[in-house]
Amino acid sequence: MRGMRRTLIAGIAASLLVSAAGSAAAQDEGPIKVGVLHSLSGTMAISETTLKDVMLMLIEEQNKKGGLLGRQLEPVVIDIASDWPLAAEKAREMYEVNGVDAVFGCWTSVCRKSVLPVFEELNGLLFYPVQYEGEESQRNVFYTGASPNQQAIPAVDYLMNEEGVERWVLAGTDYVYPQTTNKILEAYLQDAGVAPEDIMINYTPFGHSDWQTIVSEIKAFGSSGKKTAVVSTINGDANVPFYRELGNQGVDAADIPVVAFSVGEEELAGLDTSPLVGHLAAWNYFMSVDTPENAEFIETWHAFIGSEERVTNDPMEAHYIGFNMWVGAVEKAGTTDADAVIDAIVGVEVPNLTGGTAVMLPNHHITKPVLIGEIQDDGQFDVVWETEDLVPGDAWSDFLPESAVLEADWTAPINCGNYNTQTQTCGGAQAAAN
């Protein structure tokens, strides 16, 4: 009985320790702390670990240049273990315990959605580096990955115009990003005159590994005589078995090309790509892009990670851009204070790695070139097409009826993430907060 009591007391004491640790407040002296909020274990570790490394590299490089505002940067790395409620808890911990000034993190939409209220409440800064489904613009979040109009729609345009595709398979993992992207694409394709029976939509669970049936369905769908293409929003893990099955069932890119939005150099690293040559991916960056900035980035990366074999990919570039933008905004504002940075960052221009310039737009998305690459037998992509100009990221899709009227603008006088252009009002509760 007394043992019980003691254990309990120990437990409570432990909980109090947590709370005592919490009183470390943010300070203006000492290093500026930068939060890195990625999954280092669990299902998403496969993609996110690299992003943690690239953040460490960027911070190290910045420190070599003398830091920021004369202060050194210090990374705060916490593993969110692919557990999304944990991500929210850790985001809060970063601010309240570690006193970070900005956070770079998340990969999945659910992670972003989970931490979003925390950033809103604590007035933090989150730089989110991955392409996503759009339909969101939040004051404290900067979307440095592609929105659907910066990836999906140009890719479909390319297939329609350059490859003459008339019949479409929209295959995706069953979650929000593919669902929304496919809804947008469906509307877009039908606007372009594609008949509903020429569109096949297919969803699979996460980590799907047996693709025999689906690949054969795609083959059947593609044998109608009309040129067919597959638009794949299949999520990371499931891609390797999917492409293996494509290769083995002899789906030739020249006959049925697959264009993917979630397959980059990192995903191809686990694959022998020789049967896949010619399948496509749409991104805003490829490792193979031949620019001095990119060459330098890759060299730094290889030196940092200590291996010549490691690849770079689009979300890494997004972190590169996002980090530089934050640095730029902090320098412009002269402080790391969130409100000042939010005001300063709109309009900040930094070079991207593909020879262009990324600009932070008022809707907290950025301008990006869209590149279409074909898979090569060395696991790299060969850019076969790119947009003439930079494409500004669009938070609200024009192809979904409810969101077509919305617009995001975080500058005065609108200062709203979901401004309704018809009623000229700010749509939600965020209006009240501002």
Binding site: R2, M4, R6, A14, L16, P85, E89, E93, D174, N418
Partner: protein, 400 residues
């Protein structure tokens, strides 16, 4: 009758646990709200939410222990009841957003709007009413447990077979909730909550209130569980756990005993889930993941299965360790956690509480011998039956 039922639960342990929880329910919110920021004794906001989360986990572990520790049903699907309670609460919170969603649609949650849903599905009806939602928090997990248990226990599915089909149940639910067509927000789940009963979910006062509510709910669950385990039915539960067919031959129906415990346990898990959601701000199908349910089993085992205090301590301890490790050693914490599980199984087979209980039981027995077989005078008058240890301890004469 009811009073007697709860009266029986009383005992030193119960006083301690309930007392501590109620003290926490008052002191921690008070310290958080009343003391100035930066004060040494102030509990910071995040710690309130964190401890609130631990306590909901503790409730879940307690619920699992009621079926595993006392009736011997190793459920590898208890996360499902927790998640269902959470979803019921999440649906209420979603409906509370009302027209403040990004699209300004008064009825449909945002995720339905942008996937072109035209009207609210029928199973969302009524969730704008708090009390209806709270009822569903208990009814949905309870009904699922009832339906599942009704068939499984009557068919005499036992042991690993039962464990595996509970796992199949939560796995199937996870896959189902991942589907966007189900109308529960798919992988993103339900999030971006604004207010609960008119209070902003982000306000420190609301959080403190939720924390206090969690403490109270855990205290009530603890009292209920201890009353159940100390009743005659509680003894039957233990009999079912140890010798199921023997209880049948003296006329009890183990299937109903199990069903009762399973449903009560599911309801407690559902309430825990409902308290969890507003405190962490999201509910998504990941909560149904079989691994989560296995983790609950681990907490219970570490704390001490078959004791009611054990799971509470186990849940808090393991989750505190997880919080600490993930921040302190983000690359290595799985080694530490995995090692902890192995070590506890090998060296503390009865869990922390069970082992400590044995140690003290041993000491008391020695004392008893010295005191020439008379019961120590400081024992409570009511039958202080030891619910903590189903193996080791003797109990003194009844007072009646």
């Amino acid at each position: 009758m009811i009073t007697a039922f709860f009266y029986r639960a009383l005992g030193a342990k119960l006083y301690w646990v309930v007392g501590l929880l109620l003290a926490a329910a008052i002191l921690i919110p008070a310290s958080n709200l009343l003391l100035p920021v930066g004060h040494t004794l102030r509990v910071p906001n995040y710690a309130v939410a964190l401890m609130g989360k631990y306590l909901t986990y503790a409730m879940l572990a307690l619920a699992l222990d009621l079926v595993w520790g006392y009736v011997g049903i190793l459920s590898l699907g208890h996360g499902a009841f927790f998640a269902l309670g959470g979803y019921a609460m999440g649906m209420y919170l979603m409906r509370q957003i009302g027209s403040r969603g990004v699209y300004g649609n008064p009825d449909l949650p945002d995720f339905m709007v942008f996937l072109n849903w035209q009207e609210l599905p029928w199973y969302w009806w009524g969730f704008d009413n708090f009390w209806f939602a709270m009822m569903m928090v208990m009814v949905v997990p309870g009904l699922l447990a009832f339906a599942f248990g009704w068939f499984a226990f009557r068919s005499r599915v036992t042991g690993v077979y039962l464990s595996i089909i509970t796992q199949a149940m939560t796995f199937a639910l996870m896959l189902a909730f991942f589907r966007n067509d189900m109308g529960f927000g798919g992988n993103n789940g339900l999030t971006d909550f604004r207010e609960i009963l008119g209070f902003s979910v982000q306000a420190p006062a609301t959080r403190a209130g939720l924390f206090a509510a969690t403490c109270v709910a855990l205290a009530v669950s603890f009292v209920v569980c201890s009353a159940i385990t100390k009743s005659k039915l509680g003894k039957i539960m233990i009999s079912v756990r140890d010798a199921e067919s023997r209880t049948r031959f003296i006329g009890y129906r183990p299937e109903y005993v199990k069903l009762f415990a399973f449903v009560v346990s599911a309801i407690i898990a559902g309430i825990a889930g409902a308290l969890y959601v507003p405190q962490v701000g999201i509910i998504n199908p990941g909560e149904f993941a079989p691994a989560n349910s296995i983790e609950v089993v681990v907490w219970t085992a570490i704390g001490g299965r078959g004791t009611l205090v054990g799971p509470i301590i186990g849940a808090i301890l393991v989750n505190y360790a997880k919080t600490w490790f993930t921040a302190a050693y983000p690359e290595l914490w799985l080694f530490a956690l995995g090692g902890l599980f192995v070590a506890v199984t090998l060296f503390l087979p009865k869990g922390i509480v069970g082992t400590i209980g044995d140690y003290f039981a041993g000491r008391r027995e020695r004392k008893l011998v010295e005191a020439s077989d008379t019961p120590p005078p400081d024992l409570p008058v009511m039958r202080p039956q030891n619910a903590e240890s189903y193996r080791g301890e003797t109990r003194p004469q009844p007072a009646e």
